[in-house]
């Protein structure tokens, strides 16, 4: 998902936790209590959450770029407004999520610097290019659709501020998903060229969308601990399967073909079985070698660098205002 890169080598805990506190903490989690910022929590829980929430925030923010690529070319005024509003929503998600991460004792600036320095991860999906208008439909339908699969359970995640941010975000993501599907529907009911555009976009986005759920459970190092702490409630493979089951009929309704010759319906289980995911591609993109990794980070760095004087000016002005207020107060005394 937006936090798919979590299964990196587990950092060794720097602190040895008090077993009694740990047991009490686990008991609260088991009782479905929410953990709040001022509550005691194990260091590893805090670190996992910071990493997960900040990766999620970075994904929202980097995700503005591929869609932003079509803002100036949206084919109707209605689509232009909807796309702009959607990208604005994603920026808003970034803001809530950075705020949620800040409750864990890190600053947004620090997290953002890590992103710009290439030290933090974001979802691999945003390293793919948006080549035609149909890609905007596919992103809404598949990428926001996959996001929802992952994020609905996160509305019940054990950390209170994260869970509450997710509730707000999920409402908007499902709106984005419907909007994306509607773009696809319009294309598929349009001219043969438009339908071909839709199929081509699905061909390019299908597999990367499946990769959004992260590596298979057999290789996912963090899953077990995260499940115990109820940071996560379903495994990567469970969520991926839910997504496939929900999405295949939607593709059929559009009259599009899923680019997977091995895809078949399993009568016994009621699941759609899909072919092998190219995990080498996934690892490569996560490691920085996807089609747009370099451009995405460059665009964010450029904006940050070019905006430096603006942020400095805002700080300088605020400092002057404080000094003036102080001087006035002194003069009045």
């Amino acid at each position: 998902m937006y936090t798919q890169a979590l299964n990196e080598a587990v950092e060794r805990p720097r602190v040895v936790e008090d077993p009694e506190k740990l047991a009490a903490f686990q008991a609260r989690i088991d009782a479905e209590e929410k953990i709040e910022p001022n509550d005691w929590m194990p260091e590893a829980y805090r670190r996992t959450l910071i990493r997960q929430i900040s990766q999620h925030a970075h994904s929202e923010v980097v995700g503005m770029l591929p869609e932003g690529n079509w803002l100036t070319r949206a084919p109707s005024l209605k689509r232009k407004a909807a796309l702009l509003a959607k990208i604005q929503d994603e920026g808003g998600h970034g803001l809530y999520l950075y705020a949620a991460a800040e409750t864990l004792g890190v600053s947004r600036e620090e997290l953002y610097e890590q992103l710009l320095a290439g030290k933090a991860k974001y979802s691999s999906i945003f390293n793919y290019p948006t080549l035609t208008w149909a890609d905007i439909g596919c992103i809404g339908w598949l990428v926001d659709g996959a996001a929802i699969m992952n994020q609905i359970p996160l509305c019940r995640t054990s950390y209170g501020p994260y869970a509450r941010a997710m509730i707000r975000i999920c409402k908007e993501e499902s709106f984005h998903q419907r909007q994306g599907y509607e773009i696809m529907l319009t294309l598929c009911r349009g001219t043969p060229e438009q339908k071909a555009m839709a199929q081509d976009a699905l061909n390019r986005w299908w597999w990367p969308a499946l990769m959004m759920f992260g590596p298979p459970d057999s290789e996912s190092v963090h899953t077990e601990q995260s499940m115990r702490w109820k940071i996560k409630r379903f495994t990567n493979d469970e969520l991926r399967q839910k997504f496939v089951d929900a999405t295949v009929p939607q593709a059929h309704y559009l009259g599009l073909t899923i680019p997977d010759p091995e895809l078949r319906y399993d009568e016994a289980t009621g699941h759609w079985r899909y072919g092998k995911i190219d995990w080498e591609e996934f690892k490569r993109v996560i490691a920085g070698f996807g089609p747009c990794n370099r451009e995405r980070l460059e665009a964010k760095r450029k904006a940050h660098e070019e905006g430096r004087w603006v942020r400095e000016a805002a700080l300088a002005y605020a400092a002057k205002q404080r000094a003036r207020a102080m001087a006035q107060k002194i003069a009045a005394e």
Binding site: V61, M64, L65, G68, L71, T72, R73, P75, S76, L77, K78, R79, K80, A81, L84, A85, I87, Q88, G91, G92, G94, L95, Y98, W133, I183, T186, L187, G190, T191, E193, Q194, A299, K302, A303, H304, E306, G307, R308, W309, V310, R311, E312, A313, A314, A316, Y317, K320
Partner: protein, 256 residues
């Protein structure tokens, strides 16, 4: 679809001037999305762009009604070429740096806030309703961008220098906002649109106050650009439309 040809009555032309200005400015603002100096400004500039886009759509729909030929908002936006666009030149200039965008948006809002206030009393009831909505939106744009203008002007040496440069570059485009040609005169006489001369004192007062707070000098009276209202644009508009209209032009008649 090939380029459409509009027979402009003064009323239709006047509405298209407003619609085109909102659309072109919204487009320029949307270019910031994802590239602003901070995430909050990505959102704020997108917000302003969305308001302007909303105004443009209502105005084009109104234009379609006035013309009475069954055209849509998109026909006006996507199927006219640059010489048929009627926007003020100030709207089409490239986004520039953040200072340029802020100065432009402040100047345009300082004009349009009192403009829409007065247009809310228009004899054209549709236009009056659009104006009443736009007035509230532009009041916010003016507050937001005016506050930035002050921060940038009275911030650091660099921000002061950049803001001053933007002001120098943009000021010669403000004269056009007050131009009254035959179309403008007809609309004033018919009680459809306000006389810009009645707006000038409010505009001047707003600009003077903000520049004073921003510690920026008022630009001296100078030669003013003109042409947008009659379709004589800068070199920038054609490029903007080439991008904006690309899909509609590449796949004529397709529905999106």
């Amino acid at each position: 679809m090939t380029t459409i040809h509009i027979e402009e009555t003064p009323h239709l032309c006047a509405v298209l001037r407003l619609a085109d200005t909102s659309l072109v400015l919204a487009h320029r603002l949307s270019e910031w999305c994802g590239h602003a100096p901070m995430l909050e400004e990505d959102l704020a500039l997108a917000n302003i762009a969305l308001d302007l886009l909303g105004q443009a759509r209502l105005l084009y729909q109104h234009a379609a009604e006035l013309e009475g030929k069954g055209r849509t908002e998109d026909d006006f936006a996507y199927l006219r070429d640059a010489p048929q666009f009627r926007n003020y030149l100030i709207a089409e200039l490239p986004r520039g740096d953040f200072a340029f965008t802020i100065v432009r948006q402040t100047l345009v809002s300082a004009f349009f806030h009192p403009f829409w206030q007065r247009a809310a009393g228009s004899r054209d009831a549709t236009l009056a309703a659009i104006a009443a909505k736009a007035e509230k939106e532009v009041a916010y744009h003016l507050r937001h961008c005016g506050a930035w203008l002050v921060r940038l002007g009275d911030g650091t040496e660099e921000s002061h220098r950049r803001t001053l440069a933007a002001l120098d570059a943009l000021w010669p485009y403000t004269g056009e906002l007050f131009e009254v040609d035959a179309v403008g005169r007809a609309m004033i006489d018919a009680g459809v649109l306000p006389d810009p001369e009645t707006i000038r004192p409010v505009f001047e007062a707003t600009v003077d106050r903000l520049l004073r707070e921003a510690t920026l000098p008022k630009p001296p009276a100078t030669w003013m650009h003109s042409g947008g209202l009659r379709g004589v644009h800068t070199e920038h508009l054609g490029h903007m439309l080439a991008v904006m209209q690309h899909l509609q032009r590449a796949y004529p008649g397709a529905v999106w």
